[in-house]
């Protein structure tokens, strides 16, 4: 009887012990940074749109990532433009360049070397389909964006209410061909990969290492 009792206790304790730990996991998620421009232009134009640190951080907050997390790295995944034209818009191509600016200056961000870029005026222009323009990305401007985003996000475990005075703006400059008019909105959309670290309660062994925060 004693042996049976010991055996039952041994088996029960194996069940109960469970062996959990708070393991460290790394994830990557994508947030967008969107700059909006409302245009009613002919000839040359220049418009600016700014994102503050609070607006940058809000994108991460919207994700409801985890109870605790630390952002480790940000990278620009791709850049897209969305054209959405209203009635009265006659332009079917524009020249445009985009500059990224912050407190320390301005760098080229997107450039098609001054060539005309065809823009959708038909059905696709009406529904606002996003077109990839990552191929026109400038290395220096991309570095500026990454630096600003990193200053706001990386190392933060509490992004709520971030207001460190950091911001960046995107200047959209262009030329509407002679005799044409551009009426509508243009969205410049940066898809940014955010690598973050968080802790989950998991059985021992499931994670690479235990959490220290």
């Amino acid at each position: 009887m004693k042996i049976k009792l010991i055996a039952i206790l041994l088996v029960s304790s194996t069940f109960i012990s469970g062996c959990f730990e708070r393991g460290k996991f790394e994830y990557v998620t994508t947030i967008d940074q969107t700059f909006k421009y409302t245009l009613d232009k002919s000839g040359e134009f220049s418009e600016s749109s700014t994102l503050t640190s609070n607006e940058i951080a809000r994108k991460v907050l919207d994700l409801d990532l985890a109870d605790d997390f630390i952002i480790k790295e940000v990278n620009i995944k791709k850049v897209g433009m969305k054209f959405n034209f209203g009635s009265g818009s006659t332009a079917d191509a524009i020249q445009y360049r985009v500059f990224v600016g912050n407190a320390s200056g301005r760098d080229p961000f997107l450039s098609a070397d001054g060539s005309q870029s065809h823009i959708p005026t038909d059905f696709f222009g009406q529904i606002g389909v996003e077109f990839a323009v990552t191929q026109f990305l400038n290395n220096k401007g991309a570095g500026t964006v990454k630096r600003v985003l990193s200053e706001v996000l990386v190392g933060n475990s509490e992004v709520y209410g971030v207001n460190n005075g950091k911001s960046y703006r995107m200047d959209l400059e262009g030329i509407v061909p002679n005799g044409k008019r551009l009426v509508g909105t243009i969205d410049l959309i940066l898809d940014v990969d955010v690598t973050y670290e968080t802790c989950e309660e998991v059985p021992i062994g499931f994670a690479e290492e235990e959490c220290i925060f």
Binding site: K4, K24, I76
Partner: protein, 292 residues
């Protein structure tokens, strides 16, 4: 949480992650890269679930009833299941390795010349994959015993119910030609199915031959077999644009051959058994139970 549960159970019954984290896994890849990323799930489940079915062999015809808890640890001795070489949009191999879902917990970032970067999501970084299963074994009838596994978890919603059923039969072939009754040659066949309504189904089968020696207090054996596993997952999740996307994947295990060694003790009603399957992934299986 509803979206979190399906593959969660594939990895570990009690692994809890937030829906957002889980969706980040799902939207990481498309096409062949998605299959390569998730492929080890099928191999790990096939190897892990099939371990521990057999311990004491059905050598005689005396009746016994065993209830036991099987604990498995699946180890990845090499990087074969932990990394894969991704393909570009044209299907060309990119020439570097990135983590699979059970691979290193390190994000791989490939910087492009224009300042953009391609980010390859990390794996779970698991040192090993633990798995626990309750099992009863009934025997012996004409050198044959039957093992059964069953587990059910009811979620908050009706389609969150998770079920795991398994059955195995072991027959002592040695009784027909082996003169020493302590030696054995046993055929084992096991079938298991686990799934969650509307999310995924996993089925696996193993046929194996176990040969060894069994005394009153101890036993040891070697085994060689063939196993198949098939994972079908199909459910909706939110992508990075907050749109509903379909996650649809069908995976078969790559490593069909399985072999290993095992040994154990029978101390009164207590049965302890340990088993190592030596082919990828290496599974260390230990089980403890009561036999009446």
């Amino acid at each position: 949480m509803k979206k979190t549960l399906p593959l969660l159970f594939l990895l570990c019954l009690s692994f809890r992650v937030k829906a957002q984290n889980f969706d980040d896994f799902l939207k990481a890849y498309e096409g062949q890269n998605q299959i390569s990323y998730f492929q080890p799930l099928s191999d790990v489940l096939t190897a892990g679930l099939n371990s521990g079915h057999v311990d004491r062999m059905p050598l005689d015809s005396s009746f016994h009833f065993t209830i036991k808890l099987i604990g498995n640890r699946s180890y990845f001795i090499t990087d074969k299941l932990r990394t894969f070489e991704p393909l570009d949009a044209e299907g060309q191999a990119l020439g570097f390795q990135v983590p699979t879902i059970v691979g290193p917990s390190e994000t791989v970032v490939i910087e492009n010349q224009n300042g953009s970067a391609d980010t390859y999501v990390p794996g779970s970084g698991s040192r090993f994959i633990p798995l626990v299963a309750p099992q009863i074994t009934i025997g012996n009838f004409a050198g044959t015993s039957l093992s059964l596994r069953f587990a059910q978890y009811k979620g908050k919603e009706s389609d969150d119910t998770f079920r795991w059923i398994g059955a195995g039969v072991q027959h002592n072939l040695g009784r027909y030609f082996l003169k020493n009754t302590n030696d054995f040659l046993v055929f084992n066949y096991a079938f298991q199915k686990l799934g969650m309504n509307n999310y995924f189904d996993f089925t696996t089968q193993r046929a194996s031959i176990h040969a060894g020696k069994q005394a009153k207090l101890y036993h040891f054996y070697g085994f060689l077999g063939f196993q198949t596993g098939k994972l079908d997952a199909d459910f909706e999740y939110e992508d990075s644009q907050d749109l509903t996307s379909q996650f649809n994947i069908s995976l078969k295990n790559k490593n069909k051959l399985v072999g290993g060694v095992g040994a154990g003790l029978k101390l009164s009603v207590l049965i302890i058994n340990a088993e190592v399957s030596l082919l990828q992934p290496t599974v260390v299986s230990a089980n403890v139970g009561l036999s009446f």
